[in-house]
C-alpha cells in the first residue's frame, strides 16, 4: 500500500498532467501551426462570450428578484442552478471521463491506485467545468450584493463556498454513473445496457418536473407555489446543500458553511473509496468486447455510397454510449412527448406547462413543430460526426469518394434519425390537439424543413470547427466548439420563434404564417447545405 503522502503526491502529479494534457495554453505554446493557434484564441473569445451571456442571464434573474422584493431567494436559486448544471453536466460525462477513457491502459499500468486515477479524473472534470459554475455564482453574488446590501463578510464566504457548491451534485452524478456502469458491466452487451440505463434515467429526470408539479397541485399546496421565492425555499428544504449555502451567506451560519464544505470532502472520500474498489473490473468490462466467432457468410447487401456512409454513421452512434445519449436523446424525448400528449391530452400538458394560465390553447398550435424541434434540434449528429472521425479520419480521406459525398452521408443519417421522430411527435400532438388535416400536413412539412435545417446547419458547424486531435470523445460530443456554435443560436432562435409564432398567429392567418416559416426554414436549410458543399471542397 502507498503511504498517504505518496498518494497525495501521485494525486497532484496525475491531476497536473491531466490538466496540462488538455491545456489550451500548452497547445498554444508548443504548437507551431498558426491556424491551430488562431482557433485557440477564437475558442477563448467564444467561451468568454458564453460566460458573459451566462453572467448576464444570472444578473437578470437577480434584477427580477430585486424588482419584486425577493432578493433573499437569490442565494438558494444560485445554489440550485449550479447544482442542477453540475449534476447534468457530470452525469453525461461520467462515461468517457471517469470510465472507458482512451488512456486507461497507460494510466493503469503506472503505479497508481485505482481510486487515485478515478479521483483525479473527477477532480479534472471538476476543475474543467468550474468556470461555468463560477460565472453563475459570481454574477448572482454581484446581483445579490447590489440589491440586498449585505455585510462585506458575505463576499469571501460566497466566493469560498462557490468552489464547494458543485461538488456534491457532481459526486451524486458520478455515483449514479458508476452504478449504471457497474450494472452494465454484468451484461454481455455492456454498451447497449449502459446507453439504455442512462436514457431511462434522463427521461425520469425530465418527467420528474411534471410529476412533482402534479403532486404539489394534487396535494393542494398550490398556495405555497404562488411565489417563486417560496418554491425555491421548498426545493432547498429537499436539497440540503442549497439550504446550507443560503444559511452561510444570508445568516452567517458557520454550521452551514462547515456542513457544505465538510460533506463535500467526506462524500468525495467515500464515493472514491467505493468507485476505486471496482474501478478496474468495470473498466475491464466496458473496454472488452465479447467475440462470439460464430459468423457465417450469408448474402451481403449493396448500398450506394451515400447510404453506405449513413450506415457507417449509424454504427458509430450505436457503438458509443456518450454519442447515443447526446445524439439521440432529443429524438427519444420528442417521441415520448408525442406519446404522453396522446395519452394525457394536449390541453392538460399545456395547462401543466403554463401553470393553468387562462388563454385559448389553440393559439399554440402553429408552434407545435417548433416545440418538437426544441427537443430534436438540441443536438445534430452532423455537428459531432466530422470531429468524431478522430484518428480514423484517414479512412474517409483515403477512400475514392469526394468529401461532399461523405458529408451527404452524414447528413442523410441525421435526417433518418430526426425525421421519423419529428413526424411521429407531430402526428401524435396534432391528433391530440384536434388539428385539422391541412394544418397537420403543413406542420409535417415544417417539421421536415426544420430537420433539414438542423442537419445542414449542424454539418456547417461540424465541418468548420472539426477537431480530430481529441483525447476523449466527450470533448467533441459535449464540449466541442462545433456543438456549442450549433446549439446555442439554434435553441435561442427556436425559443424566440415559438413566442413569435404564437404572437403573430393571433394577428394573422396562421396557415399563411406556417407557410412563411416553412419557406424561411427551407431557405436556411438550402443555404446551409450549399455552405457544406463549399466547405467540402476545402477539406
Amino acid at each position: 500500500m502507498l503511504s498517504g503522502r505518496q498518494t497525495m503526491s501521485n494525486n497532484l502529479i496525475l491531476l497536473r498532467t491531466l490538466l496540462l494534457s488538455t491545456s489550451q495554453r500548452n497547445i498554444y505554446r508548443y504548437c507551431g501551426d498558426k491556424k491551430k493557434r488562431g482557433k485557440i484564441i477564437g475558442g477563448l473569445i467564444g467561451a468568454s462570450l458564453i460566460y458573459a451571456m451566462i453572467m448576464a442571464y444570472c444578473i437578470m434573474i437577480c434584477i427580477g428578484y430585486g424588482a419584486t422584493g425577493m432578493i433573499g431567494s437569490a442565494p438558494v436559486m444560485c445554489a440550485l442552478i449550479i447544482s442542477l448544471l453540475a449534476f447534468l453536466f457530470t452525469f453525461f460525462k461520467t462515461n468517457g471521463y471517469l470510465f472507458n477513457f482512451r488512456e486507461y491502459d497507460m494510466l493503469m499500468s503506472l503505479p497508481f491506485e485505482a481510486r487515485t486515477v478515478a479521483g483525479c479524473k473527477f477532480l479534472y472534470m471538476y476543475i474543467k467545468s468550474l468556470p461555468w459554475y463560477l460565472s453563475v455564482s459570481l454574477a448572482m453574488m454581484i446581483g445579490y450584493g447590489y440589491y440586498a446590501r449585505p455585510s462585506f463578510l458575505i463576499y469571501p464566504v460566497w466566493v469560498i463556498l462557490a468552489f464547494f457548491l458543485p461538488v456534491i451534485p457532481m459526486l451524486i452524478a458520478s455515483l449514479l454513473g458508476f452504478l449504471i456502469a457497474r450494472i452494465s458491466a454484468g451484461f454481455r452487451k455492456t454498451n447497449i445496457i449502459q446507453t439504455v440505463l442512462m436514457m431511462v434515467f434522463v427521461i425520469i429526470c425530465f418527467s420528474l418536473r411534471f410529476i412533482i408539479e402534479d403532486i404539489f397541485r394534487n396535494n393542494k399546496v398550490e398556495a405555497t407555489l404562488e411565489k417563486t421565492s417560496e418554491m425555491t425555499s421548498n426545493a432547498a428544504d429537499i436539497y440540503l446543500p442549497a439550504k446550507w449555502f443560503a444559511d452561510a451567506v444570508t445568516k452567517h451560519s458557520a454550521a452551514g458553511m462547515l456542513l457544505l464544505a465538510g460533506t463535500s470532502v467526506l462524500l468525495f472520500a467515500a464515493v472514491f473509496r467505493i468507485v476505486g474498489n471496482s474501478y478496474r473490473s468495470i473498466n475491464s468490462a466496458l473496454r472488452s468486447h465479447a467475440a462470439a466467432k460464430k459468423y457465417r457468410m450469408t448474402g451481403l447487401k449493396e448500398h450506394n455510397v451515400v447510404n453506405a456512409m449513413a450506415f457507417k454513421e449509424y454504427k458509430r452512434l450505436m457503438g458509443s454510449t456518450a454519442y447515443t445519449v447526446n445524439g439521440a436523446m432529443g429524438e427519444i424525448l420528442a417521441i415520448l412527448l408525442g406519446l404522453i400528449t396522446l395519452i394525457i391530452g394536449f390541453d392538460r400538458i399545456v395547462s401543466v406547462v403554463t401553470a393553468n394560465a387562462p388563454f385559448d390553447h389553440a393559439i399554440l398550435r402553429p408552434a407545435i413543430p417548433l416545440i418538437i424541434y426544441f427537443f430534436i434540434g438540441m443536438a445534430a449528429t452532423t455537428a459531432m460526426s466530422p470531429s468524431l472521425e478522430g484518428k480514423n479520419y484517414w479512412i474517409i480521406k483515403s477512400l475514392p469518394v469526394e468529401m461532399k459525398t461523405v458529408y451527404q452521408g452524414k447528413m442523410l443519417f441525421n435526417m433518418y434519425l430526426t425525421m421519423p421522430a419529428m413526424a411521429f411527435a407531430t402526428l401524435c400532438i396534432c391528433i391530440s390537439a384536434g388539428v385539422p388535416v391541412i394544418d397537420t400536413v403543413l406542420y409535417l412539412i415544417m417539421g421536415v424543413a426544420l430537420c433539414a435545417f438542423s442537419t445542414a446547419w449542424g454539418c456547417v458547424c461540424g465541418v468548420k470547427h472539426m477537431r480530430l486531435d481529441w483525447e476523449n470523445e466527450i470533448e467533441v460530443i459535449k464540449q466541442g466548439a462545433a456543438v456549442a456554435i450549433y446549439m446555442l443560436p439554434n435553441m435561442f432562435a427556436v425559443m424566440g420563434l415559438t413566442v413569435m409564432v404564437v404572437f403573430l398567429g393571433m394577428r394573422m392567418d396562421h396557415r399563411l404564417l406556417t407557410v412563411i416559416f416553412i419557406l424561411i426554414a427551407t431557405l436556411l436549410a438550402v443555404l446551409s447545405y450549399l455552405r457544406v458543399m463549399t466547405l467540402s471542397k476545402r477539406n
Partner: protein, 241 residues
C-alpha cells in the same frame, strides 16, 4: 520474476480469451509469447500489467500478487503497448517528466536516462514538440524511453517492433539483452518469429487462449526453426477443422 498460475479470462457468455494459462519468467529471461491474431496474447499481457481485471488464477510479479498488491507490482514493471495512447497535447519531454515524477526519479537521474535513450533513438531534437506531431514510430520510442526511466525489473511489451525503423528495432533488442544481463526479465509478444528465435531464450505458444507449448527455445524447436514449429502446429490444426 513473473509467475502466471492458471490464469483464465472469460468475455461475454463463456467464451474464454485465456484458458488456464501458466508460465514462469525468471530473472535474466527474454521470454517470447507467440500466437496468431486473437489467440489471447494481449489479454494475458494486459492482465499481467494490472490493466485488465481477472477472477480466475493468480499472477505474481517479484513475489507480489497483481490482484492484491497491484501498485507494488507496477513499481517494478514497465509496459509498452502495441499502440501507445500517450497524451497527444503534451510534448515528448512533458510526458517523460510525468512518468519520472510518478516513479519519483530525481531530476539529475531522469535527465541522464532520458538523454541517453533519446540520443540512442535519435529523438532528442523532437522532445520539445507535441506528441500529436509524432509519427507512430516516434510515439513508440517515447513509450520505450518512459518504460526504461525507472530501471524496471520486468519489462512487458506487446508487439514492440511494430512501427519501429530497423535501427530503432536493433537498439531495442540490444536494450532488452542488456537488461537481461543486468538481471531484469523481459516478457513480450510478437508475430516476428525470426526475432523471437534469435532474441528469446524461452518461448510460449498460445492458441485459442491455451498454452500449447512452453519451454526453452531448444526444447520447443528441437532442431527445427520456430517458424516451422509454429506453422506446422497451425496447419495441423487447420487440417483437424
Amino acid at each position: 520474476m513473473l509467475e502466471i498460475r492458471n490464469y483464465s479470462k472469460t468475455y461475454g457468455e463463456g467464451k474464454k480469451a485465456a484458458d488456464n494459462v501458466s508460465l514462469t519468467v525468471e530473472s535474466g529471461d527474454i521470454y517470447g509469447f507467440i500466437g496468431h491474431n486473437g489467440a489471447g496474447k494481449s489479454t494475458t499481457i494486459r492482465a499481467v500489467v494490472g490493466v485488465l481485471d481477472f477472477t480466475e488464477g493468480e499472477i505474481f510479479i517479484d513475489g507480489h500478487s497483481v490482484k492484491d498488491e497491484p501498485v507494488e507490482c507496477k513499481r517494478v514493471t514497465a509496459y509498452i503497448p502495441d499502440n501507445p495512447d500517450l497524451y497527444e497535447n503534451l510534448t515528448g519531454m512533458q510526458y517523460l517528466n510525468f512518468v519520472a515524477d510518478v516513479f519519483g526519479i530525481g531530476a539529475a537521474e531522469r535527465e541522464e536516462i532520458i538523454r541517453k535513450y533519446a540520443d540512442m533513438f535519435e529523438i532528442t531534437d523532437s522532445l520539445g514538440d507535441m506528441i500529436s506531431s509524432y509519427s507512430h514510430g516516434m510515439k513508440q520510442k517515447v513509450a520505450i524511453i518512459s518504460a526504461l526511466i525507472h530501471d524496471p525489473k520486468l519489462m512487458v511489451l506487446d508487439e514492440p517492433f511494430v512501427g519501429l525503423d530497423p535501427k530503432a528495432a536493433f537498439i531495442l533488442k540490444e536494450i532488452m539483452r542488456e537488461m537481461c544481463r543486468n538481471g531484469s526479465a523481459i516478457f513480450f509478444s510478437t508475430h516476428v518469429l525470426d526475432v523471437a528465435e534469435k532474441l528469446c531464450n524461452k518461448v510460449a505458444i498460445i492458441r485459442k487462449g491455451s498454452i500449447i507449448a512452453t519451454g526453452t527455445m531448444e526444447e520447443i524447436t528441437e532442431g527445427h526453426s520456430l517458424e516451422e514449429v509454429f506453422l506446422g502446429d497451425a496447419f495441423r490444426e487447420a487440417d483437424h477443422e
